[in-house]
């Protein structure tokens, strides 16, 4: 399988790029909802349109009403989302939650998938419990009670939690805090009694919840997959999410880079276009190289994951870490090369910097994944 898009994928890319540029652009979406202080941080109308485009269920199996597409295809949509800084439930609902729901009972699928596919529903995923990503430690407890469970504990950094109809929660049904085994995933409806959300606006204008579960009663059919066997599902969700975040990060990096390169060709100082200064030329060329390398790492990881290759997990962490580094360089160079106006809210480059921060932190930053690469490599 060559490391570039097939014709079908190239067509999808063209469609997605056109759609996001027209409907998902910064003025129409990010700034529009941000400046109105929208409590969701995204627009439901666009979510419906994405459904009409067939994006919302692209990762779902065809028998479940999805398109049965893979990480490469989801990544194509996400790169355009990143390039346009388009706020939407796609990553959390159509990638993370959808990956979890694929492991749900047919009954559960019937309950949630149609709404997702039609762009009616929004789902969130609650994994982290502290400020840094650490899925190895799950302390939120789900104790047997009747033929159901009682959920107690707290989660943080739950993106779009307050906008969601259902939240996938990773909880501990047995074992100690750091055990691999004993994890169970639950589908918790938004109105579940005892669940309290504290939504906070983030630097990139998205909204994330701190959630506390105070003895939330759940039926047995809220369980996703096997009781105590949730670690594999969780890992699948994490991999899909990390691949998705990496793909979106490539879009953020390329968007910031392209607008910066354009600026180098317009802005004059000392009677010269600043793009004529070799100091900036070399830095821009270095930046281009780093972003290209990150792109390659992402498509490689996507293909390995879609092929179910053993090395997919390692390459996913490589991609997530490399993208975080390259995108961070892109936004930092972007703001610096824009100079003063780069610091103004009026210009978009700062928005890229803000989104990059939040996206890199999501599901593990460059340090987390570099460390993971070392551990997986046995050192």
């Amino acid at each position: 399988m060559p490391l570039f898009h097939t014709e079908d994928q190239a067509m999808l890319a063209e469609t997605a790029s056109g759609f996001m540029a027209d409907e998902g652009n910064i003025a129409k979406q990010l700034r529009h909802w941000r400046d109105r202080d929208c409590p969701d941080g995204f627009g439901h109308a666009l979510w419906k349109q994405m459904a009409e485009m067939g994006f919302t269920g692209m990762l779902l199996d065809e028998e479940d009403g999805g398109l049965g597409m893979g990480h490469v295809e989801a990544g194509i949509v996400l790169e355009e989302i990143g390039r346009n800084l388009t706020p939407s439930p796609f990553l959390t609902s159509s990638v993370l939650a959808a990956t979890a729901l694929k492991h749900g009972s047919s009954d559960m699928k019937g309950r949630y998938l149609p709404g997702l596919i039609e762009g009616e529903s929004v789902f969130a995923v609650a994994i982290d419990e502290t400020a840094k990503h650490k899925p190895s430690r799950i302390t939120t407890k789900a104790e047997k009670s009747g033929n159901g469970f009682k959920l107690s504990g707290s989660k943080s950094f739950v993106i779009q939690g307050a906008s969601s109809d259902m939240i996938v929660v990773a909880a501990r049904t047995s074992g100690a805090d750091d055990d691999d085994e004993g994890i169970t995933l639950f589908a918790v409806p938004k109105d579940a009694a005892g669940m309290e959300q504290n939504p906070v606006r983030l630097v990139d204008s998205s909204v994330a919840s701190h959630i506390t579960f105070d003895g939330v009663e759940l039926d047995g059919d809220a369980v996703i997959g096997e009781v105590d066997g949730g670690r594999d599902v969780l890992n699948a969700v994490l991999s899909a999410g990390r691949l998705g975040a990496a793909a979106e990060g490539v879009g953020v990096a390329r968007g910031a880079m392209d607008m910066t390169i354009d600026y180098l060709k317009q802005r004059k100082q000392f009677g010269k276009l600043i793009g004529e200064f070799q100091g900036l030329q070399h830095r821009a060329s270095h930046l281009y190289s780093e972003v290209e390398i990150a792109r390659a790492a992402v498509i490689k990881a996507q293909q390995l994951a879609d092929a179910g290759a053993e090395s997919a997990d390692l390459m996913t962490s490589v991609a997530k870490a490399k993208v975080a580094k390259a995108a961070s360089l892109a936004v930092r160079e972007g703001v610096q090369m824009h100079g003063g106006i780069g610091m103004t809210d009026e210009y978009d480059i700062g928005l890229y910097m803000k989104r990059d921060r939040a996206l890199s932190e999501f599901l593990g930053d460059a340090y987390f994944h570099a460390n993971r690469v070392a551990e997986m490599s046995g050192y």
Partner: protein
């Protein structure tokens, strides 16, 4: 006891007697800083008392001559005062661009009349000044200045627009660069003092990515500027069309000031405090991030040493005159890196923009604010050019 030791004892005693406990608390936000000016109000009595005591003693500008509102301290005494103030955590009684920028320019280029009037007003916090250098389309490149002053005999008519004028919306007067000779790139600029209450002078705050607006656009629309504000008080500093010399001197001085912050908190080691932070949040620092913090701390502590070394060299009249450019470059780049790392340690909590827990998104807003460090007061690229030219003497630099 040596003179300087006597001075230290006296200073200690004076500070103990005059600096109220509230004024020995760390500064929490802008409202804790007193900037002076016509419309200034004190946050509380302690702030007022501390300010007035310092004015009376000349300690708002300790090293300025007594006749201009200072205390006439020599370098050694000034250092002692700084040391004793920081030892007890005493706040600065008065911050102002008058003290940091216009003052030094007047002390070097001003007429006696200008010094008497303006320096005293600054020292007493009566007038708040702002700086008008940059213009739209001329960031680091001051020579492409457009703001024009037309000579009308006894006055100028000034037209143009300035950007990045810090707190111009709160300032009473502005010192700005005005082109008074169109045919002369460098020698056609005049360093002009303008009363911002004059008709035609208006400001508009610029919203930054941090969400704050410390800067303004300042519009000069047919502003009538008298050539003299009284006996021996011309409206320009230095000679007409020689404003470039004043600006150059000031830029150098400004960089010294910024680079002088080398020793301050903003570049000190962070690893230990980050460890404490994660102790609270229940996270542990990832081993790779810990390594980055260690490498940062090495750079930060080494940079702090250079800041100290440079200050000592300055006082002794050693040290390369372009050194401040190098410290400006390294110090600001270091500070940006510092906040990147602090954001990483803080994790998702540090991403919050409005939460109480982060007192309104301090970590992320401060992080974004630092991105301007390497742009304002001369970009890092300009600093590198200056090092190439004035220190390394590279060809064509």
């Amino acid at each position: 006891m040596s003179d300087i030791e006597t001075f230290r004892a006296e200073t200690k005693a004076w500070l103990e007697a005059n600096c109220p406990p509230e004024m020995r608390q760390p500064i929490r936000d802008d409202s804790d800083v007193y900037w002076g000016g016509k419309n200034a109000t004190f946050k509380n009595d302690a702030q007022k008392a501390w300010f007035e005591a310092c004015v009376a003693k000349g300690y708002t500008v300790p090293s300025w001559p007594k006749e201009y509102g200072g205390a006439g301290l020599n370098a050694a005494e000034a250092k002692v005062l700084r040391q004793e103030m920081s030892r007890m955590g005493a706040r600065s009684p008065l911050d102002s661009f008058g003290i940091w920028m216009l003052g030094p320019a007047l002390l070097k280029f001003g007429t006696e009349g200008q010094k008497q009037k303006f320096l005293n007003e600054i020292a007493r916090g009566q007038v708040r000044w702002c700086q008008g250098y940059s213009e739209p389309g001329s960031g680091s490149d001051l020579v492409s200045l457009q703001t024009h002053g037309e000579d009308k005999g006894d006055h100028w008519v000034v037209n143009g627009q300035k950007v990045w004028t810090s707190y111009a919306d709160k300032a009473d007067w502005i010192f700005c660069l005005v082109r008074t000779d169109k045919d002369n790139k460098y020698q056609g600029i005049t360093f002009t003092l303008i009363d911002m209450s004059t008709e035609g002078c208006s400001t508009k705050p610029i919203k930054l990515i941090s969400g704050n607006s410390p800067f303004c656009e300042t519009f000069l629309d047919n502003v009538k500027v008298p050539k003299s504000y009284g006996e021996d008080i011309p409206a320009q500093v230095g000679e007409i069309n020689r404003g470039w010399d004043v600006a150059k001197y000031l830029l150098g001085h400004e960089r010294e000031m910024i680079s002088g912050m080398g020793g301050s908190e903003r570049t000190a080691a962070i690893g230990a405090s980050m460890k404490r932070l994660t102790g609270k949040t229940g996270d542990d620092i990832d081993p790779v991030l810990r390594a980055e913090l260690a490498m940062f701390d090495v750079d930060a502590l080494a940079f702090t040493a250079m800041g100290e070394k440079f200050m000592d060299e300055m006082k002794a009249g050693k040290g390369h005159p372009a050194q401040p450019n190098m410290m400006k470059y390294t110090g600001t780049e270091l500070n940006k890196r510092r906040h990147e790392l602090m954001m990483s340690v803080g994790g998702s909590r540090s991403l919050e923009w409005e939460s109480e827990e982060t007192s309104g998104g301090k970590p992320s807003r401060n992080w974004l604010r630092t991105k301007a460090n390497s742009i304002e007061g001369g970009t890092s690229e300009i600093m590198l050019n200056v090092i190439s030219k004035r220190i390394l003497d590279l060809p064509g630099a």
